[in-house]
């Protein structure tokens, strides 16, 4: 019998899966960015055409979805913690 209340993390996947999992995360994040960027474009067009009021009460100009600063902030938000791992963990 298993305890249905506790997810058995660490039980199934071998320890050396981390490399593979990271690769999957990068791929997923790229696809997420595709969706976010397209959605921003559609929202902007919809606002311009008067189809919908400004989504989230923000009126975006045409540079919104293509702004590198916005993209880089998105990347930092998802992956920023990874850059500090070297000082937090010691696998020696």
């Amino acid at each position: 019998m298993t305890n249905q209340g506790n997810e058995p993390l660490g039980k199934f996947a071998p320890e050396n899966m981390n490399d593979h999992i990271l690769h999957v995360i990068f791929e997923l994040a790229a696809e997420l960015w595709v969706v976010k960027r397209r959605l921003a474009e559609i929202e902007n067009s919809a606002v311009t055409a008067g189809v919908i009021p400004s989504p989230d009460s923000i009126v975006r100009d045409e540079t919104f979805a293509f702004d590198n600063l916005g993209r880089d902030a998105f990347v930092e938000r998802i992956f920023g913690s990874l850059k500090d791992i070297g000082s937090k963990l010691n696998t020696q």
Binding site: N18, F26, W33, V34, D72, E76, S87
Partner: protein, 366 residues
Amino acid sequence: MANQTSNSTNRMKNGPTGRGFIGTMAAMSSYDDESYLDFIEGLRMFALKSMNPSSARALKEEITAGKFNSENPSIIETRAIADPIPVIGIRNRMLHSTQGLNWNRVLESYGKSRIALEQELTDAEKDGPGTLQWDPNFVYPEYFTVIPYHRQPGSYHSDPLSGHIYHYGTKVFHGGSNDKDEAKIERIVSLPEPIDGKVTKFLDIACAIGSGTVAAKERWPEAEVYGIELAGPLVRYAHMRATRMKSEVHFSQQLAEKLNFADNTFDLIYMSTLLHEMPIPEGRTAVKEAKRVLRPGGILVINDMVQATRPLNIWSDYDRYFDHMFNNEPYAYNYVHSDLDAFLNEEFASVESSIHGKTSTWTCTK
């Protein structure tokens, strides 16, 4: 006739993918492909600007803690200590993944427009104002074909769209800072002239897609400007691109080790990021060939990876080895340990060098 003109104008405006241009390159075939690569570009910049410094700091902590037995450790010793450091492992994975995801998406996207892109290459072959010489049956040296450089699918030479793929792939590599050739133009603008100020013939050796070559024609509009490149698809792309930009540059497919020019022909020769992509003997031969076709008093400018120092910069050495092993830079690690300075000083009347980040510039006067 009016319709033909209109169609031609639309094709120029919309480009071969139908989605216009980003800077000097055809846009991706779909908006999603462009967005995907925009993200990859951002993630790569994060790896370089955030993960790299963190990784270097983590390794330095190990050095400070006395984990190394020598200030010039072997790469085996360095890897034994650096590879298990978590932040370094994640950095390595990030760089490796972004490179692979980048190439695959560029290939997939341009592949959707393959017929139009290849047709544009063919149509441009006889157009000017410049010229193109290439041989579809060119026999490449084995060192060049043994591995796809930088993991580019098809490498530089075996896909007709290698030039397109290289161009968009390097857009991501540059983090968008070279979309309009800005980085290449900056290097050409900074080139010194021979002491007599005469630049009537300019040669760009291993010109790739000809960004620097076109920039040279802009800087010296009265000069005859030549670009040679080993990879057929790259030199075809360079010519097509220069034709689109109305630049009179003469491109040809040639081996840097065996140039098809007479002795003492050129006033100024530019050789950028070539030597680290060749075995040491072939690289030395290429430098001697450049010297042969350079006129007395002329200048050869070499831009390439910084040579290794003593004591060793251990992080830089590790980083270079990672690139060598996992990013298909088969000759780069040997190159950075090849003491290029000593060789150039033996060959030329004078040599001046400077370092800018990871790149060195050698100005060699014959």
